[in-house]
Amino acid sequence: MTMANMRAFISSQPIILVLIALVAVFTIVADGFADAANISNVLRQTSMLGIVAIGMSIVVLTGGIDLSVGAVVALATVLVAGIANTHPPILGINLALFAGAAVGFINGILIAGLHLQPIIVTVSTMAIVRGLAMWLSDSRPIFGTLPKEFFQLAEGLIAGIPVPVIIFAVLAVATMLFLGNTRTGRAIYQIGGNEEAAVLSGIKVGATKVIAYTLCGTFAAVAGIILTARMQSGDAVRTGMGWELDAIAAVAVGGISLMGGRGHLVGAICGVLIIGFLANAFNLMGINPYWQRIVIGLVLAVAVVAYNERIHAFLLSRRRAQQPARGVPAPAE
């Protein structure tokens, strides 16, 4: 990537600058924020939400949404922790991955095959999957007899980098290559951009959507497996609660349009990091957790504004003063 390309890319992803600015501010105002141990710890914590957000990005790029990811995270923790009591953990890990893929596959079939609304399908499967996880675990936390090696998945370091961060980075790079360089990846953008045009140009819209949802479910299961290693237990009731909304927030903040077809995975990853760094810095500064919610909401709003074309246009028209600025812009194209 040349310097000019780089600059063009960064200016198309203003969220990168928001992230850098936030990190700079926190380094100054929050004691201990810039410590290597702290940064490494934040990255370790946010990598799970990050993995969920990668899957969510794929689905959102098709113009869909997946609200069932938090429930899949919960189901994965229950499967991994529950099965470890009687079988080697690798079986639970495989089963969790399979279950995540299966939930995603069913979502995809219902949405693409029956033309149902993504929100409502995945709200339903969210309820069903969490219900199943509660049933499997009797709604109690499972403190399984997980082997020590399994915990390395959350606590281990490879060349000084936490293992979850490596998994997150590998999945992120793989997904970027997939979206940018494969036929299916390009099809995902085209479907989100204009589904009818995609159908007419011979793209297998249904199959592509099923792939997108299946990947999203699988990624959520990966996050659940790491979460199990981190908590050293499984829990159907408390794990993954609201993760779907956090992941969607990260994706939207990162400039991936919820209408589909536009945005870059880098944006979503920056969105996840912003959410993680904010929460960490607030804790370091001892800010009341109730205020944290409000401030995080406001930062999200600012980040969304940074991507808003209408607001760009509004500000530009002001600056150039060629036209009297209209307070009420026309509807978007």
Partner: protein
């Protein structure tokens, strides 16, 4: 025609549920239970009616649950501080209207996607309630009027149900016969066409979010009156999803432009009958989750199948 068919298919879901409920529990069709059912349904129904209006305009509002919590917290704290009835009712409702204005402005003036805007305000509104009460529930001894909102009856009919039905009628009238209602359908069906047709799109959108938040505020008052406390953290959690489910079960398309308030009424009844039946049968929470998801799915599949079946009949008719 299409609309009628999809409403019919949802009536079928409701009818099946009512029959199943009657067979499953002998107590279902007792007067006490029906009264209780209507009381519970009214709460989610009032929110669903507002959500329905927003969705018809092509938007969505995820912040209703947080508005419910915020209104309850404000009302409880004002009542505890000994303010007169008017203030206890009007200030929280005013707060709900402001919440709606914020949502509407983000969407209509700043061009936020509705899902994102209301996802943000969902956090901010709930955070505001938590900051205001330092995260603690506030127990309130409400004046008689507010208590009546939740527990009173008009000749045997629970007060929330009367309120709910009044809201349904008013919304039906506005959506069907007033200019603003027709413009809401136009904006939802084709925003650009509405804009070029001279509709002030931003005003219409602003109106829908304020209307929705106002109804969420009324529901918040009923809920806090019923609980006798304001719960900034617990009240209204996931109400937005129940309301959206009710609207969709009622046959309103999430793309906007179509749907009717009667659908939202039927959808709210479906959700209400389900949770009532679960309580009667003592169903474990895990199976409540599973069956709720299954019923929502079944309802939308049937709603999707409605026009399909209609098309088959239409073809047969044209052949014969």
């Amino acid at each position: 025609m299409k609309e009628r068919l999809s409403i019919n298919s949802n009536l079928v879901v409701l009818a099946v549920l009512l029959v199943v409920a009657g067979l499953a529990s002998p107590y279902f069709w007792t007067i006490e239970n029906i009264v209780n059912l209507i009381r519970v349904t009214s709460l989610i129904g009032i929110i669903a009616v507002g959500m329905n209006v927003v969705i018809i305009s092509g938007g969505i509002d995820l912040s209703v649950g947080s508005v419910v919590a915020l209104v309850g917290t404000l009302a409880a704290s004002l009542a505890t501080a000994g303010y007169p009835l008017g203030i206890v009712v009007l200030v929280p409702i005013a707060a709900a209207l402001v919440a709606g204005l914020v949502n509407g402005s983000l969407v209509a003036l700043l061009g936020f996607q509705p899902f994102v805007a209301t996802l943000v305000t969902m956090t901010v509104f709930r955070g505001s309630g938590l900051v205001y009460s330092a995260g603690q529930p506030i127990y309130a001894d409400y004046p008689a009027f507010i208590a009546f909102l939740a527990r009173g009856t008009f000749g045997g009919v629970p007060a929330p149900a009367v309120l709910f039905f009044a809201i349904v009628l008013v919304t039906w009238y506005v959506m069907r016969f007033r200019a603003i209602g027709r413009m809401i359908y136009m904006v939802g069906a084709n925003e650009k066409a509405a804009y070029y047709g001279g509709v002030s799109v931003w005003r219409v959108k602003l109106f829908t979010y304020v209307y929705c938040a106002a109804l969420a505020g009324i529901a918040g008052l009923i809920l806090t009156a019923r609980m006798g406390s304001g719960e900034p953290g617990q009240a209204g959690v996931l109400y937005e999803l129940d309301a959206i489910a009710a609207v969709v079960i009622g046959g309103t398309a999430l793309q906007g432009g179509r749907g009717s308030v009667w659908g939202a009424l039927v959808g709210a009844l479906v959700i209400g009958v389900m949770s009532n039946l679960f309580n009667l049968l003592g169903v474990a929470p895990e199976w409540q989750n599973v069956s709720k998801g299954a019923v929502i799915l079944a309802a939308v599949i049937m709603a999707g199948a409605g026009p399909f079946i209609g098309a088959i009949f239409a073809r047969r008719a044209s052949n014969g």
